[in-house]
Structures are given as structure tokens and as C-alpha cells.
Symmetry: C2
Subunit: 300 residues, 2 copies
């Protein structure tokens, strides 16, 4: 089985895990679970739960304790999309070729659906405690929960969304430092959560978990720079969305700051360093290495 086939199978399995934790569409408030399920089931590569599970495997993790955290992280990613798409934010009517949640259910319901998803993420993750049979397992789950909160929160992903909005409004001068802050928080933070939670729940040491955090940050930033490169060099046909939008929107990107070639070199460097870290552990996870390469060197 080649990498793409293996990835496809894993996506299907992750979908099944996520579905187990989605709400039933019933009751006086049934529009809420409908909107929640619509937004979660609208597709996507399930990248964050996949990275989490592969990190868990890298440290020889076994059992179902990882599953509620995989679902929770995907819910957090999805709530952030639902709120980002709102007219008061990015005002996007379509995502992955489908109408966004607010475009289908209205703005008020999209606010509530995002809130519901974020809350459901923590309900779901807290459900992992039912797998814990001793103090050590409890402690690991508690630690994973705190990582999830920190990486998703006010000093994590939401900090990146805020800095991004404020950069566009011209509140802060557009420097390389600010750009890196946005990439690290908005994109890398949830990848860090994925790697760290996978490691912690498998019983990795603090030192190992910290190295996984570093690898994740490099992957997240490289992923984002590659995104900026593709916006310039790709075609609409390959990318499936308009190219050149960053330049048109006068958006600060690594490419506009440094140029194409230095950006490519930066992606190379980050990628090499991240994979170096992943290959430095006692165990190997070939699928994870392939996955990281495919993310960073993607053509669309």
C-alpha cells in the first residue's frame, strides 16, 4: 500500500472516531447540532488528529485514550474555521467548495455552533478520564488537557487570529517578528498540541515532549510559508482557489518580505530540522515522516 492509500484509510478511520462524539440532531435546539455536524463533516484532511495519533504511535502509545483528544483537536480546528468565516471576521461564504456554516444557518447560529464545538471539544477530551485506571494515567490526561487549553487559547491559536486581524488593520507594524508570531500561533500552535498530546498520552518524558513541540513548530511555520509560496507560484487550476490573493490583499507574507528563493530555502531548512528531530527518537514512524514531507512540499 502506498502512502496516499494509507493516508486515505486513516482519514476514513479518523472520521469514524470523530463521528462517535458528535451530537444527535434532536430536541427543541436541533438546529444547533445540525450546524455543528455540518461544519465538522464538511471535509478536510483531518491533519491534526492524524499527526496526534502518529506522535502517539512514535512513542509506542496503545489504547483508545488518544481518541477523544483526536476528536477534540479537530473540533477546535473546526470551531475556529466557523468563527473565522463569519461576516464580522473574514466574511467567507465558501470553504472547500461548500457554503460556510453562517451562509447556511445564519450568523447567530454560526456563533453558537462555534461556541458549541469549542465546548464539545473540552467535554470530549474530559471524557478521556474514563480510560484512566490509576493516578499516573489520570495525571497524563490532565497534562494533555492543559496542553490543549494552552495551545488553543488566548496565548495560543486565538493570539494568532487576533494578531492577524490587527496586522490587517495596521495596528502593529508589519515586521518579520510579527509574521513569525502569527504563523507560530495561528498555524503551528494546534500542530504543537497534536504532537505534544500524542507524546504525553503515550508516556513520553518532558524532554521528549519538548522536542516534539519544537518539531511541530517548525512544521507549522514551514507549512504556512509553503502556503504563501503556492499563492504566488501555483495556478488556480492546481490550487483550486484564486492565486495571487495575498498580493492583491496587500497581505504581509514571508514571500513578500524575503522573496521566493529565500522562502523556499527556509521551508527546506525547517523541514530538514523537523524531520531530524522526528528521526532522533528510539522508535521510528515512517508514515509520520512521509506525512510531514507531503505537507511541507505539497503543490496544492
Amino acid at each position: 500500500m502506498n502512502f496516499k492509500e494509507e493516508q486515505g484509510l486513516r482519514i476514513a478511520r479518523i472520521e469514524e472516531i470523530i463521528k462517535k462524539y458528535l451530537p444527535r440532531e434532536e430536541g427543541f435546539h436541533r438546529t444547533l447540532p445540525e450546524a455543528v455536524n455540518y461544519s465538522v463533516l464538511a471535509g478536510g484532511k483531518r491533519l491534526r488528529p492524524m499527526l496526534m495519533e502518529e506522535s502517539f504511535r512514535l512513542f509506542n502509545g496503545t489504547g483508545a485514550v488518544i481518541e477523544p483528544f483526536m476528536a477534540a483537536l479537530e473540533m477546535i480546528h473546526n470551531y475556529s474555521l466557523v468563527h473565522d468565516d463569519l461576516p464580522a471576521m473574514d466574511n467567507d461564504e465558501y470553504r472547500r467548495g461548500q457554503k460556510t456554516t453562517w451562509a447556511v444557518f445564519g450568523e447567530g447560529m454560526a456563533v453558537l455552533a462555534g461556541d458549541g464545538l469549542l465546548n464539545l471539544a473540552y467535554e470530549t477530551a474530559a471524557g478521556a478520564f474514563s480510560f484512566a485506571a490509576d493516578f499516573d494515567q489520570m495525571s497524563r490526561i490532565a497534562k494533555a488537557l492543559r496542553i490543549l487549553g494552552a495551545k488553543s487559547g488566548i496565548n495560543g491559536m486565538i493570539a494568532g487570529q487576533t494578531a492577524d486581524i490587527e496586522a490587517e488593520s495596521g495596528k502593529n507594524p508589519l515586521t518579520q517578528e510579527l509574521l513569525l508570531f502569527i504563523h507560530e500561533k495561528k498555524t503551528a500552535a494546534l500542530i504543537e498540541a497534536a504532537f505534544m498530546i500524542g507524546a504525553v498520552l503515550a508516556g513520553a518524558s518532558d524532554e521528549e515532549t519538548a522536542r516534539m513541540e519544537t518539531a511541530a513548530r517548525k512544521i507549522g511555520v514551514a507549512f504556512q510559508i509553503q502556503d504563501d509560496i503556492l499563492d504566488v507560484v501555483s495556478t488556480q487550476e492546481i490550487l483550486g482557489k484564486p492565486v495571487g490573493s495575498d498580493e492583491k490583499n496587500n497581505k504581509l507574507t514571508y514571500v513578500s518580505l524575503k522573496g521566493i528563493e529565500p522562502s523556499r530555502q527556509e521551508v527546506e531548512r525547517l523541514s530538514r530540522e523537523a524531520i531530524g528531530i522526528l528521526n532522533s527518537f528510539a522508535n521510528r514512524n515512517e508514515f509520520l515522516t512521509e506525512l510531514v514531507k507531503s505537507l511541507i512540499h505539497r503543490e496544492k
Copy 2:
């Protein structure tokens, strides 16, 4: 010291607890913690954390493990207000005489501030695990966390907000059953969380916790019916906000459904039953009984 003085002292102490968990206003994203802190520090009676702490005392709870949960519940209450006030929801520019978060910081930032507060609530509550020294304490905190999630979530408070919005849009027929659903979810759910978490963290049994849940539900519904009564019988001078707004907005209330006198009797009945439950435990908490009476029989 009379009840009002005691209540004032407790509010001040709860404010100090909450402040410990609020974010620093710094970094590229500093507008976010500014908006979060603005919304939490805009006042309020800190009713939910107060009820939680009094429930904890009723079951002889001691120690600081309750504090992160008190702060977390107030954060959840506040995020729901920030999002409820949005133009896409209730479109309120003022609350308690102050500009609402979106009116000061803009709509996009208010969405993010609400998200940040909700996430911070779970970060804060998960911090309670640092107080746990054994498996039993861990288990109680995990249970409290799951109660917080369930009462705040898709089948808790957010269900009530959804049903309320949908009732106004005429999606569901306005029946007494629907009205009770909205009151129980939108108002009572967080009071149930307060009582149950206080009990669980103090080591109350499942049966005792279930009785506290029942008492909380009665208090929440009575509180809401009293709100509806005051909207009809009070004056703007006493209430500090326009009266008769429910009738003007053609809003379904217990009063419009049943009339004033039956509504008063219902408040009486629920209040008597709730206090009966609170007085049925081995221990007594006079302040809690006074607090519940003051809430239900308030004139504003």
C-alpha cells in the same frame, strides 16, 4: 454583619479569585486580553461562583481546589454574555450601564474575546488538577470538569440560547414545554453546574449531588419567572431598565402564558421546594438559604 454586608465581602473576595486567572495585557495580541478583561471586570453579582462556593461549604469542602472552578464558571457566564450581545445575536450596545464588548472593541474582536474566555474557562478549571494529591481527588476534579462541560454545552446552556433564538424566529410553537426548556437550559444549567461542582469537589455522594441539581433547577426557573414578573409589575426606576419590554417584543413568558398571580405562586412553590432540599442535608448553610431567598424574591 447583615446579609447584604456579608454578600458584599464575598463578592470582593470572588473578584480577587477571578483576577488571579485573567490574562496579562501584553504581546502582539494585547487587544485580546484587554477585551477579555474588560468583559469579565464589567461588574455583576458573581452569583454563580458564589453559589458554587456555598454549595462546597454546605458539604464541608475545604481548600483552594474550588477556586479555579469558581473563576471558570464566571468566565463561561461572561463569554455567553459577550456573544449574546453581538449584533448577529441580541444586538445590545449596553449592559449594566456600560458599553458591551463588541461596542468597544468591534465585532470580530468580541467573537475572539468570547472564544478566548470560553477556552480560558477550561484552561483554568484544568489547572485544578495541580491541587490533586491522590486518585480520588483527581477523579472528583475530572467529574467536576465533565459537569462543567455538560451544563455549559450543546445540551446545556447553548441549547437554551438556541431554543430562545429559534422561538423568536417562530421555528417552534411557543408552548409551556418550550418555555420551561429555555428557562432550564439558558438560566438553570449554570446554576446546576455551580451547585453540583461545589458538592462534588467537597466529596458529596452522587445522591446528594443529584439533589443539589434538582434544587438548582428549581432556583434557576424561579429566578427566571421572577424576572418575567418584574418586567410587568416593576417600574423602570426600580429595575434600572425599561419595563414591559417582553410584551412589546411579543416574547413568550410564564406571565403571558399563565398570568401574574399563578406566576407568583409558581415562584413560591419552586422556592419552597428548593429551600426544603437545601435544609435536608446534615449540615446547614444559612448564608446560602438567605442568598437563594434574596434571588428569588428580589424586587429588581
